[in-house]
């Protein structure tokens, strides 16, 4: 008998491959909502024109639905008479740009450092781990303040300030995953074959970071948008001529008792987005962590 007799025809995959969740009508909701926000960020300013510089002090603090010289302020006006709805739409783009840039930078830096530390261990790991320790023990607010002070206020500065400490989460995650992934036999097999270190890292380690990293990224995205709001609250955020939800909310805090609409609507916009991103993140986490081992 030769081995061709035992040639195996395509056998069916085992249970795990064919698992799929039962379709729920609400399941698509977070994706739809995020898509709407993305559209708003992309073309919103075209649909709802907004000039952050133009103010109309005689039309300040008007409640939702008030008529103004330029139309109806469906969500009211702010303390210098700018339309809150237009501000929310215009702020979407800023918030997304900040969120995505911060997460992008942190993700790239964190994943690279974490993967390298976890894979090589020893010296690179010691260096990265100490850096993480120090950053975690370093009062984050201090960094944000100093960066805001060091450079001229601007979107790039906010992104930088939020990124300086933000990579730590990605690094910790990637480090632990790459540490356990490097113990997997396929990595050993690659090393035995003589696959180069870079190729091993990119082909045999990095793909296994992707799932958890994307899941973390959704959470961090929401976190970055919130942090921008907090920076604005402390007066360290964006310059006055850049609109963001955080700015609007922070600007409205003095009017919470009298002109609630300034803070409440962008707050709702922000909360809905963060919840939807979080739900998507949850789903990604579930999908990628379920069958890790």
């Amino acid at each position: 008998m030769s081995q061709t007799d035992v040639m195996v025809a395509a056998a069916a995959p085992t249970g795990a491959g064919s698992r799929r969740r039962r379709a729920r009508p609400l399941a698509a909701l977070p994706y739809v909502v995020v898509a709407i926000y993305l559209v708003a960020a992309a073309i919103g300013p075209v649909l709802v024109p907004y000039d952050p510089v133009a103010t109309e002090v005689t039309e300040r603090l008007l409640p939702p639905g008030s008529a103004t010289a330029s139309g109806t302020a469906w969500l009211g006006t702010d303390a210098v008479g700018r339309d809150v709805f237009a501000q929310i739409v215009a702020g979407t783009r800023t918030s997304f740009v900040i969120g995505i840039s911060v997460v992008g930078i942190c993700g790239i830096v964190g994943v690279t450092l974490g993967a390298v530390a976890g894979y090589f261990r020893r010296l690179p790991d010691a260096v990265v781990s100490r850096a993480i320790d120090i950053l975690m023990a370093f009062p984050g607010i201090l960094l944000a303040i100093l960066i805001a002070g060091l450079l001229d206020r601007g979107m790039d500065v906010v992104i930088l300030a939020l990124s300086v400490g933000g990579w730590v989460g990605f690094a910790r995650l990637s480090r632990s995953i790459s540490m356990s992934t490097r113990e997997r036999d396929w990595v050993a097999a690659a090393r035995i074959m003589g696959v180069s270190t870079t190729a091993t890292l990119t082909r045999h380690i990095a793909p296994f970071l992707a799932g958890s990293v994307i899941a973390l990224a959704t959470i961090e995205l929401a976190g970055a948008i919130l942090s921008e709001a907090a920076l604005s609250f402390l007066g360290l955020g964006l310059p006055p001529d850049v609109v963001s939800w955080g700015q609007t909310i922070a600007n409205g805090r003095e009017y919470l008792g009298t002109a609630w609409w300034i803070t409440v609507f962008p707050g709702i916009a922000l909360t809905v987005l963060v919840v939807c991103i979080g739900l998507i993140g949850d789903r990604l986490t579930k999908r990628y962590t379920r069958k890790r081992d």
């Binding site: 261990r121 020893r122 790991d125 010691a126 781990s129 100490r130 320790d133 120090i134 975690m136 023990a137 370093f138 009062p139 984050g140 607010i141 201090l142 960094l143 303040i145 100093l146 002070g149 060091l150 929401a222 919130l226 709001a229 907090a230 609250f233 402390l234 955080g246 909310i249 922070a250 805090r253 919470l256 008792g257 803070t263 707050g267 922000l270 909360t271 987005l273 963060v274 919840v275 979080g278 739900l279 949850d282 986490t285």
Partner: protein, 309 residues
């Protein structure tokens, strides 16, 4: 164990040195210094230069660093020019308020978070689970200062049941602690949920059931403890973050904590206070992480206390 703790403390010292150095660099890099701020907008350039000289701020940065490091080694953090007394005293004075607030928030967050997390995690995918997940996401998504001010408006202004600002009594603690605990609760709940959900699928849970235990006994006796390790780690980290990072809430409630002190000190370029506060916070973070690891080692005998490299 002792060896482990000793080694971790040694690494902790290294971390603190790193923080000291980083803070030093970062603070000196920032534009404006003690002399500009102290003399205010009316001062002339010559006056500022004179003060700078008498404070030694015109010396080379390296010289300043070495002399500063020497002082720190002697546990002398210098004099705060704003407070007119040793910086560490000013910092330590704020510490009890910070600790009170942080610990209260932690207790609330851990209690509520565990409850929510267990409710959600015991039946992954159920209606309760999805409700709790969405709810905790909502908690995480609400901007803390917005929540804080809303709480003031509702409980202090409209209902007049709680005071709004400043420390002093237990009643003053309620709103800030609650506000601070909201995102924290969400975090604990989510960590607990995933821990419990994971633990529920562990074979030893089936073993426990096969012994004829009720679901409650299974949950309490076998599942919960097994899901706590990541929760403890996260709580340790988060408490550390809150020590100096609760600025927003301290601002909203005029709570005289470390965060506010730190922000003020940076604004005033009160280097001594910035550095003393950073060192204190770093020390706490190091100790908290160590404590979390030790608790985890207690919780889970499998965790060999190894020094993370």
């Amino acid at each position: 164990m002792t060896f482990y703790i000793a080694k971790r403390l040694a690494i902790g010292l290294l971390t603190i040195w790193g923080v000291v150095t980083a803070v030093f660099i970062v603070v000196r890099m920032a534009p404006g210094d003690q002399a500009t701020v102290a003399l205010g907008p009316d001062a002339t350039t010559a006056e500022v230069e004179a003060l700078r000289h008498s404070l030694g701020l015109d010396r080379p940065v390296l010289v300043q660093y070495v002399s500063y490091l020497g002082d720190v080694l002697r546990l002398d953090f210098g004099e705060s020019y704003r407070f007119g007394r040793p910086a560490m005293d000013a910092v330590l004075e704020r510490f009890p308020a910070t600790i009170t607030l942080t610990l209260t928030a932690t207790v609330i967050a851990v209690a509520a978070g565990l409850l929510l997390g267990v409710l959600a995690g015991r039946n992954p995918g159920s209606v309760v689970d999805r409700a709790v997940s969405t709810f905790t996401l909502g908690l995480q998504a609400a901007p803390p200062f917005w929540v804080g001010i809303m709480l003031i408006l509702v409980f202090a202004l409209r209902l007049q049941v709680l005071p709004s600002a400043n420390g002093g009594s237990l009643a003053h603690l309620v709103l800030p602690a609650l506000t601070l605990s909201i995102p924290f609760t969400a975090l604990v709940a989510r960590m607990t949920r995933s821990g419990v959900a994971d633990a529920m699928t562990e074979p030893f849970v089936q073993t426990a059931r096969s012994k004829g235990l009720t679901e409650g006994q299974v949950l309490g006796g076998h599942v919960l403890k097994n899901s706590l390790v990541p929760v403890v780690t996260v709580v340790g980290l988060q408490v550390g973050t809150l020590l100096g990072g609760a600025v927003v809430i301290e601002t909203v409630f005029a709570w005289p904590g470390l965060g506010l002190l730190l922000v003020g000190a940076v604004g005033n370029r009160d280097y001594a206070v910035v550095q003393a506060a950073s060192v204190l916070i770093a020390m706490c973070v190091v100790l908290l992480n160590l404590a979390a690891d030790v608790v985890n080692a207690r919780l889970d005998p499998r965790i060999r206390l190894e020094v993370r490299r």
